[in-house]
Symmetry: C2
Subunit: 95 residues, 2 copies
């Protein structure tokens, strides 16, 4: 099994978003993610700050960025997360 890298993207601008806007953004993400080979694993919204956190696996940082650009809400930050602190630690971290 090929395991693709994990990414966290953080983007703002969703403060005051309506349920309809959130649902539309989510649908757009899903469509473009499929085209880019990106699997959206989890996603959360903090309505107070308007920040969305998305956890995804994909072939590259660029692919993750393209999903959000094409969906019309470019990610502010994308971080590659090669170390899973709970699943890898302590054995793999200590290796």
């Amino acid at each position: 099994m090929i395991v693709m890298p994990t990414f966290m993207d953080v983007h703002g601008g969703f403060a005051g978003a309506t349920p309809q806007e959130l649902a539309a953004a989510h649908e757009a993400d899903l469509a473009f993610a499929a085209e880019e080979g990106v699997h959206l694993e989890r996603g959360w919204l903090d309505p107070a700050s308007g920040l969305v956190f998305r956890l995804a696996r994909g072939p590259s940082r660029e692919a993750v960025l393209r999903v959000h650009e094409r969906a019309g809400h470019p990610a502010t930050e994308v971080y590659e997360l090669p170390i899973d602190l709970l699943q890898d630690a302590p054995a793999a971290i200590m290796a």
Copy 2:
């Protein structure tokens, strides 16, 4: 079943951390989390930026902050995430 709120905390300062330092931080978090009633669900490190993302459930934002303060690596940012975009959407978001 009582479901506690979900939080994401983001904290820096782990660029160049050794495996031993990561493991020690993780062990300290686990000990204090148990005392504060916080359940650490996931955690990831981006070695390039030194940022750690932690996903946790707990009784309050203050409890999550206390875990990291007591463990010696205060969280820079803590976000409460009442909306799970993938699990809730679109039905619950639209409700």
